[in-house]
């Protein structure tokens, strides 16, 4: 046995460091991801974004950072900008030439904070849209939680208003109000078949899998000739805490390969400990990829005028060209 290999973790970690370097290199890219948002009863997406707009960009603390959200409506899309500010005021610069290397701490200019930006454009009708993301910015899950915090506030406000209309709130009326506002905001990342398996494998645990299959079958009729009809079937499988992610992921892929699966949805817990829903779609994983520096260069704007941003306009253009975003899915 090689003693060096056995004693030093460095040798074994080479792969991980290479992975890390690749991830850092990839982090310099801005990606456009597909997302889908669905609301519960009584509150629509339009209501949600209107309520976010009414806050006028007030900060909300989600995931340990302050998030400023600005929204607008452009060509049938709910568009928005999420600005995440970081608490630290210093950042490091690393300079290296042939002979020397130097790490230097720098200050953010007075009164300013380090910031990350995320644009989104969500189709009013379908609830599907595009979310712009880069490494260390506000992820899709955090964005979902941010929207959910507004959603829950609005829902509570409306439920309280509905309850206030009754002089004496009966149990029946309260149940009806709860029914009228049942459900909550849900969000899903849209991924294609090929990478679905990879994304599922990266989950920490899997809670449930829903498979949708559409087939042509003969319908047995009582009084007329038999005919072929399209049958949509959806099956949900739930798993206990001990279920192995690897075996579930490979089984899903096997089923997807063996049958003509129209769509699959996996509910699980991601690395960050947050609930994550991954939805398989016949769509590209990344609707566009841009160089961070190029886009950041154009970001010297007032957040209130974000709708005029050329990058957002190009995002809307991408969304309009994608059938999966603009077309209503067949139920």
């Amino acid at each position: 046995m090689n003693r060096f290999n056995a004693l030093t973790p460095w040798h074994n970690c080479k792969g991980e460091i290479n992975d890390f370097c690749e991830r850092v290199a990839a982090a310099m890219k801005i990606k456009l991801l597909g997302i889908e948002m669905t609301t519960g009863q009584g509150v629509t997406l339009a209501d949600l974004f209107q309520s976010i707009g009414e806050t006028g960009g007030s900060p909300v603390d989600v995931g340990g950072h302050s998030r400023f959200t600005y929204v607008d409506k452009v060509d049938g899309y709910h568009v928005g900008l999420v600005i995440t500010t970081k608490d630290h005021n210093k950042f490091l610069e690393f300079k290296r030439d042939k002979t020397t290397a130097k790490l230097e701490a720098r200050d953010v200019s007075a009164g300013a904070k380090l910031a990350d930006f995320n644009f989104f454009a969500i189709n009013e009708t379908t609830g599907k849209g595009i979310y712009q993301y880069y490494h260390q910015s506000c992820g899709v899950n955090l964005f979902g939680l941010l929207c959910k915090s507004f959603y829950e506030k609005l829902k509570k406000k409306r439920m309280d208003a509905a309850k206030a209309t009754f002089k004496e709130l009966t149990l029946k009326a309260e149940k009806q109000i709860n029914k009228d506002y049942a459900g909550t905001l849900k969000w899903e990342i849209l991924v294609r078949k090929e990478t679905f398996d990879k994304m599922v494998s990266e989950l920490k645990s899997i809670q449930a899998v829903t498979l949708a299959v559409s087939t042509l079958a003969y319908a047995d009729t009582a009084f007329s000739p038999i005919a072929l009809v399209a049958k949509n079937m959806s099956q949900r499988f739930t798993f206990g805490k001990g279920a192995s992610v690897a075996s579930v992921a490979s089984s899903i892929l096997q089923v997807a390969k063996a049958t003509d699966v129209e769509g699959a949805k996996v509910e699980g817990v991601g690395d960050d400990g947050l609930e994550q829903i991954i939805k398989m779609f016949n769509t590209p994983d990344v609707f566009g990829e841009y160089d961070f520096d190029d886009i950041a260069q154009t970001m010297t704007i007032s957040p209130l005028d974000f709708a005029k941003s050329s990058f957002l306009q190009s995002m809307i253009k991408v969304a309009k060209e994608e059938p999966v975003i603009k077309d209503i899915a067949k139920k």
Partner: protein
């Protein structure tokens, strides 16, 4: 005969049961009008409805009787007897559908017979039970008329559905013939 699927059983029960429900509702309405003194059901029925209902249902029943055989035979020859349709049934049976080639036609024929019989029975009742000036006799005649009318409407809807399927089948056949003609034409041109 193969056993029927649950869906087919439910369809058959609903189709045969719905006219009885309508008849029962009409009877209940007559009872309500009589009991509450809103109308003299027997008197009104005998003066204004009995004769028309007799003539109407006799005509409808006779007409449907003559039409029934024609409809069933035509659909049988043009859809059910075709090898293409019989292949479809084979495929359906292989995929687990509990049916036979002529099972739907047999059911349609039975339903048309029920419609004819109910129309003739309704017509006969107007001439027999309808003569008694008692509310329940009038109510029974009206309920039977409503039952027969519902059967006739159902028969009409089902004939329409069968004709629709027949035309769709003809369209498919025409499309297939078109493809064959085009292939023959291309072959002739290449020679």
């Amino acid at each position: 005969m193969k056993s029927q699927s649950l869906k087919v059983r439910a369809q058959v029960m609903l189709t045969y049961g719905a006219p009885f429900i309508v008849g029962a509702l009409v009877f209940a309405l007559c009872h309500y009008l009589e009991r509450c003194g809103i109308a003299n059901v027997a008197d009104y029925y005998q003066k204004n409805m009995r004769a028309s209902l007799f003539a109407g249902f006799l005509t409808l029943g006779s007409f449907l009787l003559s039409l029934k055989t024609g409809i069933v035979i035509k659909i049988k020859e043009n859809v059910y007897d075709k090898p293409g349709y019989q292949e479809k049934v084979d495929e359906a049976q292989a995929s687990g559908v509990k049916t036979t080639v002529y099972a739907p036609l047999r059911r349609l024929s039975k339903l048309l017979s029920a419609a004819v019989l109910s129309a003739l029975l309704a017509s006969m009742l107007q001439l027999t039970l309808g003569l008694f000036s008692i509310w329940w006799a009038a109510a029974t005649c009206l309920a039977m008329a409503a039952l027969a009318l519902t059967y006739l409407l159902e028969a009409f809807a089902l004939i329409q559905k069968n004709l629709w399927d027949w035309f769709e089948y003809l369209d498919d056949e025409a499309e297939k013939a078109k493809v064959v003609r085009k292939a023959a034409k291309d072959k002739a041109a290449s020679q």
